[in-house]
């Protein structure tokens, strides 16, 4: 029923999931905005993270440790894409698609060849769960903050700066003796590590991992990044710090998912959601390009 109280009832859950998508979007931010490449591995590595986390939990592993294991496995998927791109000279987008494609089988193997594995929160110790939304929001915020602080620190180090230079102007990076191939591999690795960790959080939140849970993750991540940038450009006319930028990605994830909850509440057919998202992301990705054209160049 379309009642306001119904919406209020559903929104907190939307915020919790939005936080998780926002964390995932931080991983995509590293490849999309810092390295300046589109990495399509994420649809696969998100699922990998969910699968690894749930299987670990079923095996009795501590849920935080399970997330860390997912993070590391996610890094490996990113490294695979990075190596295919840099060593075999295959375009980044294609390298990502190939790894994502192959991960489907690997994810099935991780889940013992079943398309869906669940960890009942009554029987297993989970870090977050949709059964306790306030707690999920709290944990989501804490994990977001940890990510933002660590990423801020990392991209201020010598290595992090070298990765930024590689994404900004690879010619300059080369001339400064930066091994741009390695920097890309590291960037892909960290990005997918974070995406997989977010997949693990999602798995715990919903209590199961599904072979298709990562489908469209790249688009949701881009939506979060772009919404965050729109918010930033609206509030800070004169640019802002890297902290703010990273925070905006999380906020973008929350806004995106809250919008989805509202759309569902309005009884719009959920099958049309993907089309809506695709159109909105296309428009926002196009805006900067169209502005440049108008300016005469």
């Amino acid at each position: 029923m379309i009642t306001f109280s119904n919406l209020i009832y559903r929104l907190p859950g939307g915020v919790a999931q939005g936080l998780i998508w926002g964390i995932m979007a931080l991983g995509i931010y590293i490849t999309f905005r810092v390295l300046n490449v589109s990495d399509l591995t994420v649809d696969g590595s998100f699922t990998t993270g969910g699968a690894v986390t749930i299987m670990c939990i079923l095996a009795g592993v501590n849920p935080i440790l399970a997330l860390l294991i997912s993070f590391i496995v996610g890094i490996l998927t990113g490294i695979a894409t990075g190596l295919i791109h840099t060593k075999l000279k295959i375009p980044a987008i294609l390298a990502g698609i190939l790894v994502q494609f192959g991960l489907y089988s690997i994810n099935l193997h991780i889940m013992n060849m079943s398309a869906n594995v669940s960890a009942n929160p009554d029987r297993f110790n989970l870090l977050i769960s949709m059964r306790n939304v306030p707690n999920a929001i709290l944990i989501g915020i804490i994990i977001s903050i940890v990510h933002i602080i660590v990423l801020y620190w990392y991209f201020g180090t010598e290595q992090g700066s070298a990765i930024r230079a590689t994404g900004n102007n690879s010619n300059m990076a080369l001339a400064q003796g930066i091994n741009i191939g390695n920097m890309k591999v590291i960037g892909f690795g960290i990005g997918n590590g974070i995406v997989a960790l977010a997949g693990g959080l999602m798995g715990q939140y919903q209590g199961f991992a599904d072979i298709n849970m990562g489908r469209g993750a790249i688009v949701i991540g881009l939506a979060a990044i772009i919404i965050g940038e729109v918010v930033i450009n609206f509030i800070f006319k004169k640019g802002c710090s890297f902290y703010t930028r990273l925070t905006s990605v999380i906020i973008g994830g929350i806004i995106y998912y809250a919008a989805m909850v509202i759309i569902l509440w309005l009884r719009i057919d959920s099958n049309d959601l993907k089309l809506f998202t695709a159109i909105i992301v296309t428009i926002f990705l196009a805006i900067p390009n169209l502005k440049v054209k108008k300016g005469g160049k």
Binding site: T157, E158, A175, G177
Partner: protein, 265 residues
């Protein structure tokens, strides 16, 4: 300091676009040599510099920098020894990063980059002083994004970046060609200043013959992938444009008219 030993490079071999860009070229530079390079379009000047900096591997021959064989080193590895400034002011700096961040990246040229902090406070003071010496007011804008600077300011910054950690070899490929004449002069003066201060071994390509005559202690002229003239010392100091044009027509069998060589004048 630099020894190029019989290098050759053919682009697109075996195709209809086959182009011999360098043929058995040899060149030796002593420490502190400042060599200007002239030649018509397509003579192979940039190709020679790219061969040294490692954009690709040469087909034949060897390249040594300070007795180190760099022939098979990748581009980023050679950067440890080589500072570069390009014709396009956009190419040498990271536009979305701050001035001080660009300088910090350049200060670590060829060093391993770990998890230490990207810029220390002490470095900032050094950058402030070095930028002040450029006289462009950039020292007050350490945290300005490089993309906001003018072409001349960016070239000056790129020059500083190329020399801030003394390179064994400085390669300049028409680094003033994209600038207006007065800015070009400033950047050239700055080039002299930095080269002299640090006693840098330098190769500078230019299309401006007067600049080629006025700067450096040695001049080479290229045509069709080989060096056709090499003058140094006293003889170089007494060169004139007219003489160079005459010489060029003689040595290249007069295949090109004066304008082709002069181009910028």
């Amino acid at each position: 300091m630099l020894k190029i030993d019989n290098i050759s490079k053919t682009f697109n071999p075996g195709t209809i676009n086959q182009k011999v860009a360098l043929s058995n070229l040899s060149l030796q530079l002593e420490e502190g040599d400042f060599v200007t390079v002239i030649g018509s379009n397509g003579a192979g000047k940039s190709t020679m510099l790219n061969a040294i900096s490692g954009s690709w591997f040469v087909d034949e021959g060897k390249i040594f920098v300070d007795d180190i064989d760099v022939t098979l080193m990748s581009e980023y590895q050679r950067a440890r020894y080589i500072g570069r400034v390009f014709q396009d002011p956009l190419m040498g700096t990271a536009a979305d990063m701050w001035i001080e961040e660009n300088l910090a990246l350049a200060s670590r040229r060829g060093k391993s980059r770990g998890l230490r902090v990207g810029i220390s406070r002490k470095e900032r003071e050094i950058y402030y002083e070095k930028l002040k010496a450029l006289n462009l007011g950039l020292e007050e804008r350490l945290t300005t994004k490089v993309g906001l600077l003018s072409g001349g300011q960016r070239q000056a910054l790129t020059l500083l970046m190329a020399t801030i950690q003394k390179p064994k070899l400085l390669l300049l490929d028409e680094h003033t060609a994209a600038l207006d004449p007065s800015t070009a002069k400033k950047v050239l003066d700055l080039t002299d200043q930095l080269v002299n201060e640090n006693n840098l071994t330098t190769l500078m390509i230019t299309h401006n013959m007067q600049d080629a005559i006025d700067h450096g202690n040695r001049l080479i002229m290229m045509n069709d992938g080989i060096i056709i003239l090499d003058v140094r010392g006293e003889e170089k100091a007494s060169l004139t444009k007219e003489y160079l044009i005459k010489k060029f027509n003689e040595l290249s069998n007069g295949t090109l008219d004066n304008d082709a060589l002069l181009l910028s004048k």
